[in-house]
């Protein structure tokens, strides 16, 4: 089942007298349960594509359909509600709230939904267990390593069990070993049925994905399936 469908997506930025065409007509379809990486050099438009997918960046033209809903036709705050229910975000710099513990950071998306305190606590602890950090629930972000912070960010993204997980350079600030652990985690989540769309500049991360999409100058330049990725890695 196609979960995400993008058609003729364009995004232009106006900078002074200059118009920058970040996306110049992207067509893409992502199936439910798929693990897709988006590769490309700086300025290729991959981060713009992810922000448009995340419902935070209105496209200049084209459509984004998610779970059968035309994302940018949603009125007003319904887009925020859509994000709250359907999307989980993992950021490059983790973006954990420094004054909240790991557990509270994970509970953050639950702050705006009606749910009993005990249920919120249970959901957050389950998410922390899934990323292997149940024992560090009461630590503040600055008491955690980079890899642990990334895993807290992942737990925060999955705590509401959203159908789609969007990740922006999740290993960008991590060493090789920790990067592998985080990618293993994403792979495991995907094996459990989680759809993952990840922007990365690291070709090694593509080995964990079902499909890798290469953007160049705002258009899809190449698509590789898992088998091809494995051959390439070998």
């Amino acid at each position: 089942m196609t979960l995400i469908r993008i058609e003729n997506l364009k995004k232009h930025y106006v900078s002074g007298d200059e118009t920058v065409e970040a996306l110049r007509g992207v067509d893409l379809a992502i199936e439910a349960g798929e693990f897709v990486t988006i590769m490309g050099q700086s300025g290729s438009g991959k981060s713009t594509l992810l922000s448009v997918l995340g419902g935070m960046n209105h496209p200049t033209a084209g459509t984004v359909e998610m779970a059968g809903i035309q994302l940018y036709e949603l009125p007003g705050e319904r887009l925020a509600d859509f994000r709250a229910v359907n999307l989980g975000f993992v950021f490059q710099s983790f973006h954990l709230i420094q004054y909240l513990t790991a557990l509270e950071n994970v509970m953050l998306p639950l702050a705006i939904i009606k749910m009993k305190k005990a249920e919120k606590l249970q959901a957050a602890m389950e998410a922390l267990e899934r990323v292997g950090l149940a024992g560090k629930a009461d630590r503040l972000p600055n008491q955690l390593s980079g890899g642990e912070q990334e895993r807290v960010a992942i737990a925060r993204a999955i705590v509401k069990k959203p159908p789609i997980l969007l990740a922006d350079e999740p290993t960008g600030n991590l060493d090789t070993k920790t990067s592998e652990e985080v990618m293993e985690l994403f792979r495991r989540l995907n094996d459990e049925g989680q759809t993952v769309v990840m922007v990365t500049h690291n070709p090694e991360n593509c080995a964990y994905a079902d499909r890798s999409i290469h953007l160049r100058d705002g258009v899809v330049a190449e698509e590789r399936k898992a088998a091809a990725i494995a051959r390439s890695a070998a």
């Binding site: 935070m56 925020a80 994000r83 004054y99 909240l100 953050l108 705006i112």
Partner: protein
């Protein structure tokens, strides 16, 4: 985890900034509380004085008089058509609308007499009312309780060499000196006081009154209205308010009150600017955080609630501390500002509730734009990484 958890934890983390914010607002509230409490306490002090010290309404018979002058030389005033007040009419004073503000009604009859061979002014009074009105009187001996007894002013007693227990001839009749007044520094020092009925009989003015002094509880009463109300009840009398001194004090206090409110306005404006600038700084500092909130599905309203809740908590604290500090300041300043040394500080729950409410209103209003600004942040711009 609820939205208020985020607000409270953020306040805990940014202790220095929030302390600065609290102090900024607290100073404004404390200034207002100090000034309001000072003016209220000073008004109360003056009002208390009015209540305690003497008459503030004078009732005299109507009379027509002319100012006489000839060749540029003033010959004084000539009174004709002198009328009188009947004692039985005085009961009407108790029927005026503001009768609850009447502390004491003291009728008097006056007349010239010979006291031990010297001329003196005899005043017949109702001692119960007179003592209620002149609480500063100190009597050596006793206050006259029956006919045949007099109370002498200190000068009158000295000049006739009389002390309590002596007998003295008043208008040719023997009277016992029941008591002598301690020196008051007023006209009372040279007067001879005796019970009203006895004086009326001695002066041949039974049932008639020369003048009436009324003490009104005037810390809050409309004395002007009371004068009009009494004049309506006693059309044959001339009713005047003796309040020039008090009025001038109240006028000065009114000027101080206006000045105080102007100062308070400026201080609270500066306080609100501090809140505004600090909250804007806080919002800018938290740009990424707000971007995260928006990215994970927080509505604009949620962001506003977080910011305004923080403002409300800080304002509430500033209001409570500001009230406490303001009352402390007023307590310290009152002895230097009030006329009497024992002026009491007025603890008014309205001031307490008002100062907390004002702090909340100012804090929330000053934070409204920063909250709106935060809620309107573009999550992509806020996060940049995406």
């Amino acid at each position: 985890m609820k939205l208020h958890t985020i607000s409270i934890n953020n306040l805990r983390r940014r202790k220095a900034k929030m302390a600065f914010l609290t102090i900024g607002l607290m100073v404004g509230i404390a200034t207002i509380v100090t000034l309001v409490t000072l003016t209220t306490s000073m008004s109360s002090d003056i009002g208390k004085k009015m209540d305690e010290f003497g008459a503030n309404i004078l009732i005299m018979p109507q009379s027509n008089d002319l100012s006489m002058s000839y060749g540029g030389i003033s010959l004084g005033r000539v009174t004709f058509d002198q009328r009188e007040i009947r004692q039985e009419d005085l009961v009407r004073i108790t029927t005026i609308k503001n009768s609850k503000n009447v502390l004491a009604v003291s009728p008097k009859v006056l007349g010239g007499v010979r006291l031990g061979g010297k001329d003196a002014l005899l005043v017949g009074v109702d001692f119960d009312s007179e003592l209620k009105m002149k609480q500063w009187w100190r009597v050596f001996g006793e206050v006259p309780k029956k006919e045949g007894e007099v109370l002498l002013g200190s000068t009158a007693a000295d000049s006739a060499h009389l002390t309590p227990g002596d007998t003295v001839q008043v208008a040719g009749k023997p009277f016992t000196v029941a008591g002598v007044l301690e020196q008051t520094g007023s006209q009372d020092d040279s007067l001879v006081f005796m019970p009203l009925a006895g004086a009326q009989k001695l002066l041949g003015k039974e049932g008639r009154i020369t003048l009436v002094e009324v003490a009104a509880l005037c810390s809050g009463c409309p004395i002007g209205d009371m004068v009009v109300q009494i004049a309506e009840k006693l059309p044959e009398a001339k009713v005047t308010a003796i309040q020039q001194v008090v009025e001038s004090r109240l006028k000065a206090l009114d000027h101080f009150r206006r000045f105080a409110y102007a100062v308070a306005g400026v201080v609270i404006f500066i306080g609100s600017l501090i809140v505004f600038v600090t909250m804007m700084g806080s919002v800018t500092e938290r740009t990424t955080e707000i971007g995260v909130f928006r990215a994970i599905g927080f509505r604009r309203g949620h962001i506003m609630r977080i910011i305004l809740l923080e403002a409300a908590l800080v304002s509430l604290l500033a209001g409570v501390l500001g009230y406490a500090a303001g009352m402390g300041g007023a307590k310290l300043a009152l002895p230097f500002m009030a006329e009497s040394k024992d002026a009491a500080l007025v603890w008014d729950t309205t001031v307490m509730a008002g100062s907390i409410a004002l702090s909340l209103i100012v804090g929330m209003l000053a934070s409204l734009y920063p909250a709106l600004h935060a809620s309107r942040m573009d999550p992509t711009e806020a996060l940049r990484a995406l």
